[in-house]
């Protein structure tokens, strides 16, 4: 296995805040655990959909959203463990081909929520290479601020699907909890897109 996380590593909170800086109509889906906290810490937003369970589903929720809102830019922010639990979904993304979908994998190489056990990514699986092998339109590995700025510019290119692993330190930042009421978040998200509750 190749050595991973050997270079510089980003602070996850700073990296996510920088990526979301100046967002306008960006739609964001977050995977359960730390990525949800990171996005919440950057500022709650009506265009955020936070997952609290259904591990492995951040990619597929983002895919369905991207396919039903082709004129909007969709960003999935999730963890390396979360994306690996539904890794087949990357193949489904690729064959479905949403141009407006970018997946940002916040890769600390750990299962952070459960006691910092080393994950598959932490043992050498480079998720961006999986996506590249599945013919994603663009993949990247990001370990500095310039890379975050480049990814932010790429979000709106609409020539995806794209996937980047964002290499972050293993430090667990304080939890910043998003709302847990799934119905509320669903209705708030839909209302921001102009849809009424049933």
């Amino acid at each position: 296995m190749g050595e991973v996380n050997s270079g510089t590593l980003l602070d996850r909170r700073a990296a996510v805040a920088r990526l979301l800086e100046g967002r306008k109509d960006l739609l964001v889906v977050t995977g359960l655990g730390s990525p949800s906290y990171d996005v919440m810490a950057a500022g709650d937003h009506d265009n955020n959909y936070y997952l609290w369970a259904a591990m492995g589903s951040a990619t597929t929720v983002g895919l369905g959203l991207a396919m039903s809102q082709p004129d909007k830019t969709v960003l999935v922010l999730t963890g390396d463990g979360e994306v690996m639990m539904g890794v087949g979904a990357l193949a489904t993304v690729s064959i479905t081909g949403p141009k407006n979908l970018t997946i940002g994998v916040i890769d600390n190489g750990l299962f952070g929520e459960t006691g910092q056990q080393r994950s598959h990514a932490g043992r050498g699986i480079e998720i961006s290479k999986l996506a590249a092998s599945m013919d994603f339109a663009w993949t990247g590995i990001i370990d500095d601020e310039a890379g975050i700025d480049d990814l932010r510019d790429r979000l709106s290119h609409r020539d995806g699907p794209q996937l980047a692993t964002i290499k972050v330190t293993g430090e667990n930042a304080p939890r910043v909890l998003p709302p847990r009421d799934g119905v509320h978040i669903k209705n708030r998200f839909r209302a921001a897109l102009g849809f009424e509750p049933i």
Binding site: A54, G64, M67
Partner: protein
């Protein structure tokens, strides 16, 4: 073409019913019993047909489509219900409309006993996870049950499944 005297085969009724409910997305893992609806969905320019690697992807996909304002349904086999169990929490907690059409194995005249455990657990497992279920064992049951389940899913933000029984689908032929 069908006439008033000779109704369409039930297999050909499925997609038109779903389209009446403004379904725009069909997520599926293939099964022979769903092949007519799958072929129609793949050929329909108004439908986004999505092939899944595993059935739980469909729950997330349809939730995302609904967040974006569009309706969908999932076609799967009873074995695939087992793959969905934990992910059904997403539909239950956020009350996403979820419509599943499940072709059954292991519930009648099953040759492959390895299908029996999941096939026989399918309906109670769905019920345990908050999914309402109906069984269609006769062709004339299919239209009213699919229509009724779709209505309850989309009008009530509910998780609903129609189980298409092996007596309806017919025995799988194992002889070449």
């Amino acid at each position: 073409m069908s006439t008033d005297e000779t109704p369409q085969p039930w297999q050909d009724q499925i997609l038109p019913i779903l389209k009446k409910f403004d379904v725009k997305h069909i997520a599926y893992v293939p099964d022979a019993g769903h092949s007519a609806a799958i072929n129609q969905a793949e050929a329909d320019p108004d439908i986004t047909a999505v092939t899944l690697t595993t059935e739980e992807e469909g729950i997330g996909y349809l939730a995302g489509a609904w967040l974006g304002g569009q309706r969908g349904a999932m076609l799967l086999q009873s074995s695939g219900v087992g793959n969905c169990i934990n992910t059904l929490a997403l539909a239950e907690r956020a009350r996403f409309p979820l419509l599943m059409l499940v072709t059954m194995r292991g519930d009648w005249a099953e040759f492959n006993g390895w299908q029996n455990p999941m096939g026989q657990a399918t309906e109670p497992a769905l019920n345990l996870m908050g999914v309402r279920t109906w069984r269609a064992d006769k062709p004339e049951d299919v239209e009213p049950l699919v229509r009724g389940a779709a209505g309850m899913a989309f009008n009530g933000d509910a998780s609903c499944a129609v189980l298409l029984g092996q007596r309806l689908i017919g025995e799988k032929k194992w002889v070449k």
